[in-house]
């Protein structure tokens, strides 16, 4: 039996690329630096060579820095603007959402969830956090990498804990984020694959967004036959 499901266009190609490049470099950066973080990962240095991994960390760092910039300027302007706009629009509903949201984590359906925009309160928090961490990584990472002789040693010494802190928070947040994306809301995952989400999912989770799209007549839908 097959049925036709309506999908709504949510993310543009450029933004999807941006996301995945970001996601992958993030993990590779994490991995390439892990041996420094804990000796349990020293085997990585032994396997690939400390210098190689550190060089990779630096190259990936460059990608990690450039990716959002390129996205903002060229490839995913609207997607990034959306991110920024959404973060700036954080409101009462988002607070309510955050209060009620935890139940979703274990698969429950919280009652009286307020309607959510393009990104919900949690996502908005995530965006903000990731943006700040990005800045933290960039500043601390570049200082550690290239700062010798240019930046005062006292400042430089602080970059190590800062960088570590970013990695800690970033990692924890990423885990949560992935869990939500894969474990809790697999439907959202679709959005990061082909840019569309089920209409039903969208209406349920991002009602404000769907409403506004409808009002503006900008709702683009795609029908798909599902077996």
């Amino acid at each position: 039996m097959s049925k036709s499901i309506t999908y709504i266009k949510r993310h543009k190609k450029g933004f999807i690329y941006f996301h995945w490049i970001n996601a992958v470099t993030f993990f590779l950066l994490f991995l390439t630096a892990m041996p420094l973080y804990t000796n349990k990962f020293l085997f990585l240095y032994e396997a690939f060579g400390a210098e190689t991994l550190q060089t990779m960390h630096h190259i990936l760092g460059v990608i990690f820095i450039l990716n959002p910039i390129v996205a903002l300027l060229i490839t995913a302007r609207s997607g990034i603007f959306t991110l920024i706009r959404e973060v700036l629009r954080f409101d009462k509903d988002d607070v309510k959402f955050l209060v009620k949201f935890p139940a979703e984590l274990i698969g429950r359906e919280p009652k009286g969830m307020p309607k959510q925009g393009f990104y919900n309160g949690g996502e908005r928090m995530n965006i903000l956090l990731q943006a700040l961490l990005w800045l933290g990584f960039v500043v601390s990472g570049l200082t550690l990498w290239l700062g010798a002789g240019h930046i005062s040693p006292t400042i430089r010494t602080w970059m190590i804990p800062l960088h570590s802190l970013c990695a800690d928070l970033g990692f924890a947040a990423a885990i949560g984020h992935i869990y939500l994306a894969i474990g809790v809301n697999p439907d959202s995952f679709q959005g990061m694959r082909d840019g569309t989400v089920k209409e039903s999912y969208a209406k349920h989770h991002h009602a404000k967004w769907v409403d506004s799209l409808e009002k503006e007549g900008k709702l683009e839908t795609v029908e798909r036959i599902v077996k």
Partner: protein
């Protein structure tokens, strides 16, 4: 227990013959480093380099009395009592030996550069060829054989001395007294306590700043924050996140049936 040793550089006596620089390279088989071009200065290198573990800095200054001074300062690892480099080394590749020598273990070093960032005296340098951190090792191998470190042994003006810590402290005190009597009221021993004291002690005729020394140098607290707060917290957070997520998934798997609302609320079936 091994004896704690120390080296002394008596700035008033140093002639900048730079034998110590060559002695260091000779003993450690370090190649010459021509990275600093000649631009009308005597000083050979702008800073320590991966193959230059000790450098005589040569500066000119005219003091309050209008007297011209040519100052020579031997820079090298200070062999801190509380070495930031060792503390902050993620690989524990830097050992503080009983003799006071702070020594990089090449085998363990992964060249991350944290010691470079942490050292309050800008000492360690990563050698790009070997990708290891490098610096003066106080000739610990010689000390173990009962031989004076190469630079101190060769000093042509007896400006460098090497002896048990207390002896050096005593010599330094005496020299400062002498310098004061000779008309250097600001003479002092440079042995910054902020880094736990050093095993490379200086006798300075004038205030430390004159020679580019910071009396306030200290082992950065950021290392403690990093080691004692950030890292444990980070590990906790990382592990917590993982465990949490797994736990959540487990709970979810046990309690909630798969959410199907999206599908059900989907637009019509065909």
């Amino acid at each position: 227990m091994a004896q704690e040793m120390a080296m002394l550089h008596d700035i008033a006596r140093c002639s900048a013959c730079r034998a110590c620089m060559v002695a260091c390279k000779q003993w450690h088989d370090l190649p010459a480093d021509m990275s600093t071009p000649f631009e009308g200065q005597y000083q050979s290198h702008a800073t320590l380099t991966p193959t230059t573990w000790t450098l005589i800095r040569m500066t000119e200054h005219t003091d309050d009395k209008g007297k011209f001074n040519w100052d020579f300062v031997k820079t090298q690892c200070m062999h801190c009592g509380d070495p930031a480099c060792a503390k902050g080394c993620p690989e524990e590749a830097i050992d503080k030996l009983a003799s006071g020598a702070v020594v990089i273990n090449e085998e363990k070093c992964v060249g991350c550069g944290y010691c470079v960032a942490n050292c309050p005296f800008d000492v360690p340098k990563i050698n790009p060829q070997t990708h290891k951190s490098t610096k003066c090792d106080l000739c610990f191998d010689r000390i173990e054989e009962g031989i004076t470190p190469s630079c101190a042994k060769t000093c042509t003006a007896d400006a460098l001395q090497f002896a048990p810590y207390e002896e050096i402290e005593e010599i330094a005190r005496q020299r400062v007294a002498e310098l004061k009597a000779e008309g250097h009221p600001d003479a002092n021993v440079y042995n910054p306590q902020g880094v736990g004291g050093v095993h490379m002690i200086y006798v300075l005729p004038e205030k430390p700043m004159v020679y580019g020394f910071n009396p306030q140098s200290k082992t950065p607290v950021s290392i403690d924050i990093w080691k004692d707060v950030v890292r444990p917290l980070g590990k906790l957070a990382g592990a917590g996140a993982l465990v949490g997520v797994l736990g959540l998934a487990a709970v979810k798997g046990l309690t909630g049936k798969k959410k199907q609302d999206d599908d059900q609320n989907g637009k019509g079936e065909h």
